[in-house]
């Protein structure tokens, strides 16, 4: 991926909202479907950042989170990387199973996978790349 945006965040939950809003705005300007940005990108990116801050970086204020994004009218690709030791994303329970629905936690990665069209973790598990496709790309904000 050749990112056209690179953002470094402090390891602070309060820092999530601004870059999410910024990338949504940039993608909207590029002609991306606003409904998919408002829900899908917001959920995918916010959940990935929350996980990076809380679990990847273990709330350590000395650590940082990196966002690399490539934004275009047809596709938004975002990579979120933390400075943690990583984890195995394969060993996660399905939160929609009846026995799991009453659990308080465990829905973040599920929602990322539901909202984004493509999700891949690196081998270490401290970086996730997510792709959102635009079903009807519009060049330069022109309407169809």
């Amino acid at each position: 991926m050749q990112p056209n945006y690179v953002i470094e965040l402090p390891n602070d939950l309060c820092a999530i909202e601004e870059p999410v809003a910024y990338l949504i705005h940039r993608a909207s300007e590029a002609g991306f479907d606003e409904n998919r940005l408002r829900l899908n990108l917001r959920v995918g990116l916010s959940e990935a950042l929350t996980n990076a801050i809380l679990y990847g970086n273990c709330r350590d204020p000395r650590k940082r989170v990196r966002i690399e994004a490539q934004v275009g009218p047809g596709e938004v690709t975002v990579r979120v990387t933390d400075e943690g030791h990583g984890f195995d994303p394969c060993c996660l329970d399905d939160p929609t199973e009846p026995d799991n629905r009453r659990r308080e936690r465990g829905r973040g990665i599920f929602l990322i996978r539901q909202m984004m069209d493509y999700v891949e973790f690196n081998d270490t598990g401290n970086s996730v790349t997510m792709v959102l496709l635009n079903p009807a790309p519009v060049e330069n904000g022109a309407t169809t």
Partner: protein, 110 residues
């Protein structure tokens, strides 16, 4: 982002203004637990002013539902917009909660 707590008859109504996310879920949890401790048993959380709920927000609703139920109470949700409803349906939490289209519908169902 705020939580406005009011009473409507014997129902405690909490209006969620803005978002329900990891950063403010504890505040909502404490407000409801305080009302539960004070004897409240019927709870309505109104999302008419809510634009976004993250997975932590969904989780705190699950937790509160359990605590209220354990005390013999009942929790209802109302006024989820299309995006919020999508999140509940994807996570199958729409099978766990009483979700009403409006505050009026929720109140009449208690």
């Amino acid at each position: 982002m705020t939580f406005v707590v009011t009473r409507d008859s014997d129902v405690t109504v909490i209006d969620v203004q803005g978002q329900l996310i990891v950063g403010n879920r504890q505040e909502l949890k404490q407000k409801v637990l305080d009302e539960l401790e004070a004897g409240g048993r019927k709870f309505l959380i109104d999302f008419a002013g809510t634009g976004y709920i993250d997975s932590s927000g969904l989780g705190v609703l699950v937790s509160l539902s359990k605590k209220i139920r354990e005390q013999g109470g009942e929790l209802r949700l109302a006024n989820l917009n299309d995006d919020l409803r999508t999140l509940f349906e994807l996570t199958k939490l729409d099978t766990l909660f009483h979700i009403a289209a409006s505050r009026k519908d929720a109140m009449s169902a208690f």
